[in-house]
Subunit: 351 residues, 2 copies
Amino acid sequence: MIARLLEDKVELDKDAIDILYNTGYFGRPRGNVLELSLVEAAYLLYREKISITMDSESLSFPEFFKIASMRHRYFELKYIVYKDLKERGFYVQPSVADFRVYPRGGHPGKTPARSYVYVRSERSSVSITELMKSLNTVSNVRKQMILAIVDEESDITFYEVKKISISGQMEQFNDNLNAESSLLEDRVIVWDKKASSDLYNKGFYGKPLDEDRLQLSLIESAYLLEKNLIQIKDRERDKVLDSDYFFNKASEIEPEFSIKYHVYRDMREKGLVPKTGFKFGTHFRLYIDIESPKKIPHSEYLVHAISENHIFILPIMSRAIRLANSVRKRMVFALNYNGNYEYIDIGRVKM
Amino acid sequence: MIARLLEDKVELDKDAIDILYNTGYFGRPRGNVLELSLVEAAYLLYREKISITMDSESLSFPEFFKIASMRHRYFELKYIVYKDLKERGFYVQPSVADFRVYPRGGHPGKTPARSYVYVRSERSSVSITELMKSLNTVSNVRKQMILAIVDEESDITFYEVKKISISGQMEQFNDNLNAESSLLEDRVIVWDKKASSDLYNKGFYGKPLDEDRLQLSLIESAYLLEKNLIQIKDRERDKVLDSDYFFNKASEIEPEFSIKYHVYRDMREKGLVPKTGFKFGTHFRLYIDIESPKKIPHSEYLVHAISENHIFILPIMSRAIRLANSVRKRMVFALNYNGNYEYIDIGRVKM
């Protein structure tokens, strides 16, 4: 079959509809012709199902590939992903996301598409705004959102992006301990033995400095101070610090404090126990419930707080997810988006 | 025993030398007195071995701790690490690095110190220049260099930092294939079947696009071009690209290209096979030898190329190392330092 290369598509005569569309769901019938995207055309040319002409001259695979690469941004990446999916037996259609993919055993006309696949180069970056928009579009039509990231050696990693909601069983801590504590360089120490023990054992706040005293992180201290559960003094003159002053001070010590703090508070309010995720390179590891500090369960989530303006650098995102998965945890990015806290779970999937 | 707090140290009378130094190696005898660092003093105060006075007034633990925290930067962090090491039975002495630590069973006067421990907060950053200087100092006296990083919840992670040399058994590839290939958007495709097969099978370059054609990364392409092994044309006019032009073009596409490329070349010249480490969030995964692409061995190293001006953000460094270790690999940072390529292995250790 002979196909004609037009501007950004390839066109075949009517008989192709029967052969390519009705049997393989390639292209889209438009009246008397069948239209193929450049990616579909390259694949059919490689499979020697069609030949392609431009101005009546036949094009070799390299010739067509180079032209397509100039006419369609990221053509090579899309071709690599398309070919991979086709060769693993999926029906794939071009769409507003790069591709709509049908479930195994399904095809256009028989079943709805299952996934919307967005193809990106590891070198490009993806803003959370862009991701949330795509995710909302895809969720509205109840599809699965897939990011297919092609690395510099053309290996593909598929990630599923989804919103999740998590809540915990940790009870709120309501005693006003009013315990004296001091802000030292970048942490707070609770000097009172009883308060130290209560905070640690009942709320899983902080870490013991020794048998009598507890160290709190800035985040934990700010939360306990805001809830009026502790009293924090400065180290120099034992002046009592108010919540605003402490918040500003903590933000000076740690530039991301505010972003982290709001997510921390949201999680605590939902009955969850966030603790530092430093060893995993993220802001928090998250516990659903902690009965006793002596019996700490497996934490199922790593949570990284991001701002509404966050830009994902893909190799860094890839590393975070890979690491989370390697310790049997889910990687979750949390942000305040249009006034709501959203928890976005991004995980590798096999397609 | 009564100790007197002076400016940045604590002093005890002569009898303390016998009790604290000769039996526990606390402090340093100076003529008729024993001098303790603030950290040692806080620990002995906590252990109730000494009491501390300032201007003849006795200080409580919180009082002394707050004063010490104001007089000695990162006092709390150092105290946390010191206490941890002491409680696990090590003899520890203050030093130019924060601490000198003696091997298990060893102590001052009996055995030389084994490790120099540098204490850092996860919030501080560490420049590679600073790290190389410390590493050179420590290596010159044949000690082990340890970074003790204290996270915001006061957990300590110990990292050993060391130089390593790695070489491989991959033979250099010497045929001039002169095979035609094209630079597309951000990768190169080799169109020739024989050359594609040779590059992939004999040198483990690239990744097959299909049975006949090979995709090369920018890094691989630049190296093969510099070695005169391939010919690269532009996609528009089939103009042959020279090495300099290609290098500049690649640097436009990928800002870190130059840093990565020089490390890549050094590794290839040493008979190693670097491939992309994208899935691990690093520049390269590294093979010592590849007999055949059908039998790819476990890669033991992840390598990240950095510049001489690199600043380690500690949570990011922590994540990279944790991830490497979780897939049974060593994390190595590679750089050109004063004209030599240095490979710095940073790994978690139990102390």
